[in-house]
Symmetry: C2
Subunit: 476 residues, 2 copies
């Protein structure tokens, strides 16, 4: 792995505290950091490098997946530095450049620079252009930019943002984090599909009836009201995470030199566009009302702190996609996500066609269930004679899972360090997702009906009806 400078903007923020530093420390324990490197944290808060190390130490002790001897932790901390930086202040970038260059010389590091923007999206542009202007981006080695979501809030702003970033960083230098792409089972989707000879022959319209992708949360809006009420489930989950999972499930196998990115883009291009006048037939938007979670009464979205009482923000989206290609023609993909649902689960269910006219009336359709979160695993659900009463056909399934696996941020940061962008969102994927979602955003503005669902349920009845139109049901 190349020696490098790791420059973290937003180093005193919540993500850095809970995810980024713990991930870096876990990579350190596992010898997955370069031999020569340093980390420089940037923020508005008044830390010295010394006091910042103390702060990081506490956070690692609280949030790290793995523990290690204190001397290891201290050795890791020695490579962390801190500078105060105001993102608008050009002088601060000049100071930063000097600090980076000095450390690079000291540690004999080639000028490979990783810039990680763990900041609010409105700062992406100014930081990127200051990196360029200051000379920080003029390296003898490589430079890379890791940025967090959200990437725009609609097609137009996403394009503007990309346009701006592209002045400072080339597309192949930009690593857009979609932390769902860092989850073990999401990264496993391509291996699962393409290294098992029994799956590919079944993975098409001849054998699949429908595919369901679910990301259900039990939590409500919590402390994120300010952000969430301007985004809704459509921006927070659908445009990015759900579409990424969809692409990995639906894409063809990369072959003849094509990459996973190429295949993801291709399948996204094959998705039938949902025009504005078709949105209400294919998309259900809903908001949670009061209800019961684990026996406790909870309030509705409109009564949450920080939410205006007439908010039309969606906390639940279900939609149907059709893919007009040879593999999937006629097979609906159902995608749903929501807050305050009965169960916390992220999963993909492939429902295979039922046997017709076989007289096996009790038989349930075969399912392949890929559990992504909170358990990870794959199970086939198939029919078997009941061992206790052989006249009954029952459905059995199996599951195996692994404990203490690396967190998404460990995988993703490692990939970025090594320059592997397979599990990051490329611009064309982001743009295509926005194109698909834009008519929905427009119709939501036009006062498309906002359904209601009680907290602690599986979502609005309208989402059930969406599947009933084709005689399907959600596999909860």
């Amino acid at each position: 792995m190349d020696s490098m400078s790791f420059v973290l903007f937003g180093a005193t923020g919540d993500l850095a505290k809970r995810k980024i530093f713990p991930a870096l420390f876990n990579l350190y324990i596992e010898n997955k950091l370069p031999e020569a490197y340093f980390i420089i944290g940037l923020g508005r808060k008044d830390f010295t490098s010394e006091s910042f190390r103390e702060y990081v130490k506490e956070n690692i002790l609280e949030f790290s997946r793995q523990t290690s001897k204190e001397e290891n932790l201290n050795r890791f901390l020695q490579l962390i530095h801190y500078s105060v930086l105001n993102v608008d202040n050009k002088e601060d970038y000049q100071k930063l450049l000097k600090t980076v260059e000095k450390l690079e010389v000291e540690k004999n590091i080639e000028q490979n620079r990783m810039f990680y923007l763990s900041v609010a999206p409105n700062f992406f542009d100014v930081i990127a252009s200051n990196i360029k202007e200051s000379g920080l981006g003029s390296t003898k080695g490589w430079k890379r930019l890791i940025i967090e979501k959200p990437f725009g809030r609609d097609l137009k702003t996403a394009r503007e943002l990309n346009e701006k970033l592209s002045k400072s960083f080339a597309e192949e230098e930009v690593f857009r984090i979609d932390h769902y792409l860092g989850k073990g089972m999401v990264q496993n989707l391509d291996t699962l599909r393409f290294s098992n000879s029994i799956l590919e022959p079944l993975w098409n319209k001849n054998h699949v009836d429908n595919i369901q992708i679910t990301a259900a949360e039990t939590v409500g809006v919590e402390e994120r009201a300010g952000y969430y009420d301007h985004s809704g489930a459509i921006r927070d989950m659908i445009q990015n995470h759900m579409m990424q999972m969809f692409m990995l499930v639906a894409m063809d196998k990369p072959a003849n030199g094509s990459t996973i990115h190429d295949e993801k883009k291709k399948v996204l291009e094959s998705v039938r566009r949902i025009a504005e006048n078709e949105v209400s037939n294919n998309v259900i938007r809903a908001q949670y009302s009061s209800g019961h979670m684990n026996g406790k009464e909870v309030q509705g979205y409109l009564n949450e702190p920080g939410i205006t009482s007439d908010s039309k923000t969606d906390t639940y989206i279900a939609l149907r996609l059709l893919v007009d290609n040879e593999r999937w023609s006629g097979v609906p993909f159902y995608i749903r996500t929501g807050k305050r649902l009965k169960e916390k689960t992220t999963k993909i269910v492939v429902q295979f066609k039922s046997l017709s006219g076989s007289g096996e009336k009790e038989a349930q359709p075969n399912l392949l269930i890929i559990e992504i979160n909170p358990t990870e695993g794959v199970k086939f659900q198939f029919n078997s004679k009941s061992q206790l009463d052989s006249s009954v056909v029952e459905t059995t399934s199996n599951m195996e899972s692994v404990k203490n696996v690396p967190e998404a941020y460990e995988r993703l940061i490692y990939d970025a360090l090594t320059g592997n962008n397979t599990y990051f969102s490329k611009w064309d994927e982001v743009e295509h997702s926005w194109k698909l979602v834009q008519p929905m955003l427009d119709m939501f503005q036009e006062d498309m009906p906002l359904c209601k669902y009680a907290s602690g349920t599986f979502g609005p009845k309208e989402a059930d009806q969406l599947l009933q139109e084709h005689n399907f049901k959600w596999w909860n």
Copy 2:
């Protein structure tokens, strides 16, 4: 269920004690016996009905799967009678007829008579013909004959036996017990195959590389030396149990009015016959020598009590079958069974074709593993990215099993009571199996090499070589 008389020959024998009476009692507990019935046990030993009931009671308490209140057990016992019978003595059959008729009148039972021959095979013929001659077989209702294995000791004696039985019982009245067909997972094979839409498209030469059927025992010859040394694994296991499992795995789906029996027979007819000069290329016979089981030294077959020191009896057989039909052309079926092996397991492994040229070098072939004994379950073994190191492709699998399931004899006796012969061996199946095995028996007589394997291993190296010829290996 029809009222009936249940006439058990060999009622004081070991099978009746351990299996038949406990099975009947379990059916009684589960209300799976007719409303009106009685059981009459026959044997040479001097029991009264009273003392026989005491004897049965003790055995049920020791061997029954389920327990019940003592009053239930006593009520069950009241319907058991005992008569002394010498199988050669015609007068005894006349006395039996009178007893049966008297009990039938008393209990208002229509003349449905179930004759269960739990006796040594040399008595099958004489009992069947005496049933006929005595008038016991001339019933106003139905009559049925349940017989235990072995059904002949080669093609000739099997044909002779069938010829004799057919004078007293029609083929549809004969229920030949193969207790492997009573095992839950064996009875599940057809449901598994035909009520799951994902399996049928994969169940053929395009997707299957080979199929392995294993019945491995850890025990040696134990107290069965007298019988076993004249039978060997070929008669004890291959001709009956293993061939039955093979048929259920390889048969086509019954359709257009055909039955499972029809399909089993068809696939057996498609098996390529192994001529005498090909036996040694396709069949491995072996005998266990001394070795270690669970850290203890155990002696070889030739030193077992009751075995002559120059015995050539096989305690292990492995063989390769090819099926010349459209579904299986070119797919080898490997069948093996043996005593004193490392692990006790009966299982079927379907090995699917590997992916070729996919660069997925680490990927193992996909397997469908059907565990029959001692655990019951079905698992898919597929490839998945390692959760701990994503550069490693590892193999995962799943299993679910059910406890306290009915024993084979419960299922089979119940089926016979209701006249369902699906899971009994029909004559044409038995005959075809003997036809297939006869050249092997002949070559064994001709001093075909008898290999040796150490107790506690997975069998002789020659059995491994049998698979290596096609670049396969046993899945142990």
